[in-house]
Amino acid sequence: MSKFILDLIVIENRKLTDQYVLLILKSPEKLPEILPGQFAQVRVDGSSTTFLRRPISIHYIDYEKNELWFLIQVIGDGTYRLSQLKAGEFLNVILPLGNHFSVPKDYKASLLLIGGGCGVAPLLYLGANLKRRGFEVNFLLGARSATDILQKSEYDRYGNVYITTEDGSMGERGFVTAHSLLKSSNFDYIYTCGPTPMMKAVAAYAAKIKAICEVSLENTMACGIGACLCCVTDSTEGHVCVCTEGPVFNITKLKWQI
């Protein structure tokens, strides 16, 4: 897939919580084909501490409106700058980068998309895409508390939404892997993105029930296009770049102790 450098226009910067914003961006040119799981390298302008681009996953794409959504968690000065963008300003992005989540061959396959924290971001676009292809989609979203459950109404559009919060303020109390859904149902495919301990616990569950499991890694990156070799993960084929061989990996390719 060809990669493009685009100046996107900020249509809306919606503050979701103290820590999260939703950036809705429009492309002056027709957006190229972007697959669920792919990401963009976003340039941060005007920061005295953030030098490199920030890899941000594609939260959603509306091809009819030529709009692209980023879900941004404010962590450092780079993401803070992104959270301060105003409507009408431009954001320079390189996309589409990386590989993508796979689509099951059997349209009757039962699917579960598990996200934690900001890791829920790529699952919206994935869920929308899978629903459009005729799959029944189940989302399991985890967060610390109810206020950190982001964009729930958007996920509701594309599938069944199950929630866990650590304080029990929404859905079931505890981590995603403790949700009763995992005991009552069986799944053929599990897609997950979020903190590494969560993804490892999900991978262990998937291995136990013999489901195919794809995880999306968030290693720190410099180039995002396979040139610098900074973002590697250890795989069955040795060190591979998360930006080009990933970010999505089938867990059988990773050397995780699960």
Partner: protein
Amino acid sequence: MANLNINIGNLQLKNPVMTASGTFGYGIEYADFIDLSRIGGIFVKGTTIHERQGNPYPRMAETPSGMLNAVGLQNKGVDYFIEHIYPAIKDIDTNIIVNVSGSTVDEYIETAEKLNSLEKIPAIELNISCPNIKEGGMAFGTSCPAAAQVVKQVRRAYKNTLIVKLSPNVTDITEIARVVENEGADAVSLINTLLAMAINAESRKPILSTITGGLSGPAVKPIALRMVWQVAHSVRIPIIGLGGIMNATDAIEFMLAGASAIQIGTANFIDPTISVKLVDGINEYLSRHGFKSVSDIVGALDIS
């Protein structure tokens, strides 16, 4: 349009803008963004005699004006390069230069010998300055006798243009530059990264798996510029300047300090099109100042 041609030994450059090893892959990674034939040359990823997996993750730490890396020369080895990568890049209409590294003198020689036979590789860059490998690398570039030995042996084995990449992690870079010139190098490139460190105070741990790594980016530019200036006054062979170049003005400063050509490195990560912007920017500068040729600004610093 000014004349942008520059010669480095027998190497003919259509312009002085080249991309630094380790920041530009094999060039093809950037083919979606720029016309690769517009730049003077591409220094491909550091290549060793055997495949290397490099260092464990994390290998990169961002700093306010640059980054640290500790990749550790991950590459599939020179035979893989010759069989699988060379055929895919040999017809790019620019100079493809292979950066060669090793743990022993014999490894440098063996790798250089294998590259001798490649028609479309007009030069190698001998990396005696990588700070991220346990054996060899920077050890050859921080001692005059060791630098002399490796350059002398590779010079015997390698027929085309031999560029030696110098380490800034020395007390006096001009001593190393002179030794390298005396042993037959056709040019020197400088600087490689500066040995540096980053710490996460919250976890009380080093950020890099290797604890220390190499600093690049605009943070190192003034040091690189000073070293190019010093080396330009110490050797007669051409200098390729690099270290923190972010725009055409930075590139011109290196040339005024004495570099015949430059490499753009870390900036490629932020703007994949930066190399061609430098070509245009240098051309614009030459026109604005009435220079007919880019060679007119090499070492043209006015210190009166």
